[in-house]
Amino acid sequence: MLNKYPLWKTLMVVFIVAIGALYALPNYYGEDPAVQISGTKGVQADLSTLDAVKDTLAQANITYQSAALKNGQVLVRFSDYKTQQTANESLSTSLGDKYSVALNLTPATPEWLASLGGVPMKLGLDLSGGVHFLMEVDMKTAMGRAQENMIGDFRTNLRSEKIRYRSVKESGNGVEVIFRNVDDLASAESLLKRTYGDYLFVDNEDKLSLKITMTDAKLKETREYALQQNITIIRNRVNELGVAEPLVQRQGAKHIVVELPGVQDTARAKEILGATATLQFHMVDQEHDLRAAVNGRVPPGSFLVNDQNGQPQLLKKRIMLRGEHIIGAAPSRDQQTSRPQVSIDLDSKGGSIFSNATKDNIGKPMATVFIESKATGEKNPDGSLKFTQQQEVISVATIQARLGSKFVITGQESPAESQNLALLLRAGALIAPIAIVEERTVGPSLGAENVQLGMQAILWGFALVLIFMMVYYRKFGVVANLALAANLVLIVGIMSLIPGATLTLPGMAGIVLTVGMAVDANVLIFERIREELRSGKTPQQSIHHGYDSAFSTIIDANITTLIAALILFAVGTGPIKGFAVTLSIGIITSMFTSIIGTRAVVNALWGGKKIDKLSI
C-alpha cells in the first residue's frame, strides 16, 4: 500500500526527536552566575572552607541561592551578575592566597536531567564575554635549544666512549664534530649512528669532520614537541589564574589559542601567560679577570650578565641546570634573616644533574640567572617574530654542600617579588618564548546583548517562515513547520551534546540560515506533489511520487552544501568555524526532519485513506 510507514520507522522518528528535545532542555533552564572556590598548592576545600565562605557572605550581607561542597571545591550560586561580582571581591580578600576564587557560570539544569548528561550549549566568547589570545611560539629558539641539547649529548657520548675530538660546534641546522684522525672519526660515526638513528650523518675524511643534522621527521617531531610542551605549560598557567572552563588549543604549526571566558583583568592574564621566565644555574668564572672581560676580552667559555643592580658578572657558559626540571616553587622566608626567598623542588633527573654538578664545586660561588623572553615587535626576514632574551643574575651564593632536589634561592627584594617568581617558575619554563599576536576582549554587557539580538533574529526569522509556509501550503505547510521546529530542537540538542561545539554569534546566523534552507527540501517535495496533482495523478500517487522524485535532488543539493560547510570547518578559525559547525549540523538534521520526519507525519495523516483532495 502507498504511503504507509512501518510502525518502527514512525517510532524511530518520534524517539530521535524526543531525545533531541531532552538534551535541548537544559538550555531552557540556563545558567546561574556562580563563584567557584578551590584550594591552591594541593590544599583542598573542605567543610571548614564552606563555613568560612558562608560566614563571609553573611557578614557582607550577600544573598546567595546555594553553597555546596563538591569534588574539593565550593560552589556558590547567585541570582544575578552584580551579586556574583561583589561576592567574588569579598571572598577573594577574606580567603587569602590559599584558595583561588573564580567566576563561573554553572548550569541550572535540574538534577535528574544532569544525571542523564544534559548540559546547556557552550557559549563562545562573543556571547559570554571574556578574552581570546592567539600566541605564536618562537620556533627559532626552540630549534636552537634542540641543537644545544645535541651538542651536549654528543660530547657526553664521545667522552664516555673515550673517543677524542677536536671540537663540537653548531653548523647550519645541525652539529659539526671535528676529529684528530680518521680512526676517531670512523669509530665516532659508528657509535653515534647506533644511538641516534633519526639523525643524518655526513662524514668528510679530508677535513676530519662529521656533520650531523636532523632528518625531516626528527625536525618535525622536535617542533611538535616544542609546541606541545608550551601548550602544557600554558595550561598550567591558565589553571594558576583560576579561570573556569578555559580553552587552550593548538592552531596550525606554531600558534596556540587561549580563551578565558569571563576574564576582564587582561593585564594580569597577559602577564602570567605571556611571560616566559625560567632559571638557569651557572658557576661564576673566578679564573678570569672580570674587568678585562668588561673591557671586551671575554674569555671563550664564559659570558657577561648584569645583576639586579646593574653590576656585570662573569659566568661560565656551561649550564648546570635548566628551569625545565623545576617542578615546584614556593615563596618563603629565611628563618634567621626573615628575608624573602623561593624554595625550589626539582624532578628526579634534575636532582641528580644538580647534585653531580654541585658536588665538585663546594665552596665556589654559583649564580642563579633569571631569563625572560619578550617579543620585540620586529620581524625576521621570514615573517616570524623577533624575540629578545633578557638575562639577569638574581642571586650569587656560595655552594655550602652538595645540593639535591630541594634548595632555596635568595635575592628577591620583597615578598611580592618572591611570590611572583615562584608563580612563574611553578608554571614551568616555556621551551621557546611566545608572543601574543592577537587579542580580543569582549565585555560581559556586549556578550549578553549579542545573545539577546541573536535570539531575536532567530525567533523573527522563524516566525516569518512559519507564517509563510502555513499560508502557502496550508496543511502541508503545517507539517513542514513541525519539521522546522523539530529541526531547531535537534540542532540545539546536538550542539549541547557535542563537547567541542560552541555557540557563537556567526553560529546563530548559521542556525538562522539553516532554517531558511531547511524549508527548501519541503518546498521541493511539495512543488513536486503539486506537479503530480496537476498532471492528473491521484492524491496518494502524487504524495508518493512527490517524495520519491525530490529525494535525489535534495540529497545532491545538501551534500554539496555540506561539502562547503565541512571545508569551512577544516580550514576556518574563530567565527568561520562557529558558523560551519551549526551549518553542518543543521544540514544533516534538516535532511532528516524534512524528508523522513514530514513523511512520517504525512503518512500518518493521509496515508492509506481514500482522499479526493489534498490541502497543499
Binding site: T266, W460, F468, P506, L513, G516, L524, L568
Partner: protein, 315 residues
C-alpha cells in the same frame, strides 16, 4: 495558494545573450571596482587595534577625536556603531607590538578626557602577520571549496554541469565582493563566512536546476537542449522563488534584528541570494548549453535501479 501560475514554458534561454552581456558587464564592473577601490579589509586581515566603547549618554565624536589626538593617537578612526551611545575606534598597525597594551591606554585617555564613565564592550588587537595568514587561509578555503564541489558535481552529473555551476559560483562571489568594494563596506571574517555561505546556497539552487535538466533530458523524447532547459527552468521556477523568498525573509530578520556586529554578514548574504538565484537560472544553464550539453551526454550512464522502479510504478 500559488504565486506563479505558469501554463506555458517560459523561453528563458532565448534571453541568454542578453543575460550573458548583463553578467559580463557586472563582472567587469566588480573587477574594476576591486582593482580601483580595493576591498575595505577589516581588522582581521590588516592587523591593528579596534575598540568598541559604550558611553552612558550619546557620544560626542568630535570631542573623542580631539582627546585621542592629544593623547597621541592621531591615526584613530572614530565612528558610531549601532546606536548613538556606542563608538567604534580603529587604529592602524603599530610598529612595535606594544600595541597589545594600547587598548587599556586608550580607555584611560578617553575616561580622563571625556569625564564620562566608559563601558568597555570589546577590544581587539590583531598582529599583521596573523592577518596575512588569514587572507591566505581564507582564499585557500574558498578555492578548496570550489574544487571539491567541482569534483563532486562532475562525478554526480557531468563535467559541463560542473563547469556551469562553478562558473555560477565564481560569478556570485565576484559580484558580492564587487558590491562590498563598491559600497566600501568592511570585509571581515564574518563576511568571509557569509560569502562561503553564498557559495553553499547558490550551489544548492544550481544543483536543483541541473538535476531537473538531467531528468528532463531522459524523460522528454523530443526537443532541443535549449527547449529542455527552458522546460526545466519553468518547472523549478516556483520552487526557486519560494526558497529564495523564505531565505530572504529569514535574512531580513537577521539584518534588522541581529545587531550591528553581523550587518556585514547579512548584507553579503542578502545580496548573494539575489545574485545566486539569478545565476542558477542563467549562468549555470547558459554555460552548460554553450559547452554543448546534449541528450547523449546524460542518457547512457544514469538509468539506475531507482529509476527502473519508478517506471514500473507509473504504469
Amino acid at each position: 495558494m500559488q504565486i506563479l501560475k505558469l501554463k506555458e514554458t517560459v523561453a528563458f534561454m532565448s534571453y541568454r545573450k542578453l543575460a550573458s552581456i548583463f553578467s559580463i558587464i557586472l563582472i567587469i564592473a566588480s573587477l574594476t571596482s576591486l582593482a580601483t577601490n580595493k576591498l575595505n579589509w577589516g581588522l582581521d586581515f590588516t592587523g591593528g587595534t579596534l575598540l568598541e566603547i559604550g558611553f552612558d549618554q550619546p557620544a560626542d565624536l568630535g570631542k573623542i577625536r580631539t582627546v585621542l589626538e592629544t593623547g597621541g593617537f592621531d591615526d584613530a578612526v572614530v565612528q558610531l556603531f549601532g546606536n548613538p551611545n556606542d563608538v567604534l575606534i580603529r587604529l592602524g598597525q603599530r610598529e612595535n607590538l606594544k600595541a597589545e597594551m594600547l587598548g587599556n591606554q586608550i580607555l584611560g585617555v578617553l575616561e580622563q578626557g571625556t569625564g564620562q564613565t566608559i563601558d568597555m564592550r570589546r577590544i581587539e588587537f590583531v598582529g599583521a602577520n596573523v592577518g596575512d595568514e588569514l587572507t591566505e587561509q581564507g582564499g585557500l578555503a574558498m578555492l578548496t571549496a570550489l574544487i571539491c564541489i567541482l569534483v563532486y558535481v562532475a562525478f554526480r552529473f557531468e563535467w559541463r554541469f560542473a563547469l556551469g555551476s562553478v562558473t555560477a559560483l565564481a560569478h556570485d562571489v565576484i559580484l558580492t565582493l564587487g558590491l562590498f568594494s563598491f559600497l566600501g563596506l568592511e570585509f571581515d571574517l564574518t563576511v568571509l563566512a557569509a560569502i562561503l555561505a553564498v557559495i553553499g546556497y547558490s550551489l544548492n539552487d544550481t544543483i536543483v536546476v541541473s538535476d531537473r535538466i538531467r531528468e528532463n533530458f531522459r524523460k522528454v523524447r523530443k526537443g532541443t537542449p535549449e527547449e529542455i532547459i527552458n522546460i526545466s527552468l519553468t518547472q523549478t521556477l516556483s520552487r526557486t522563488m519560494i526558497t529564495s523568498l523564505t531565505t530572504f525573509l529569514v535574512l531580513l530578520a537577521l539584518f534588522f534584528k541581529g545587531g550591528a556586529l553581523i550587518h556585514g554578514f547579512s548584507t553579503a548574504l542578502l545580496f548573494g541570494i539575489v545574485v545566486g538565484t539569478y545565476s542558477s537560472i542563467y549562468v549555470a544553464s547558459t554555460v552548460a548549453l554553450g559547452l554543448g550539453i546534449s541528450k547523449e551526454d546524460l542518457i547512457p550512464e544514469v538509468i539506475e535501479k531507482e529509476g527502473a522502479d519508478q517506471e514500473e510504478l507509473r504504469m
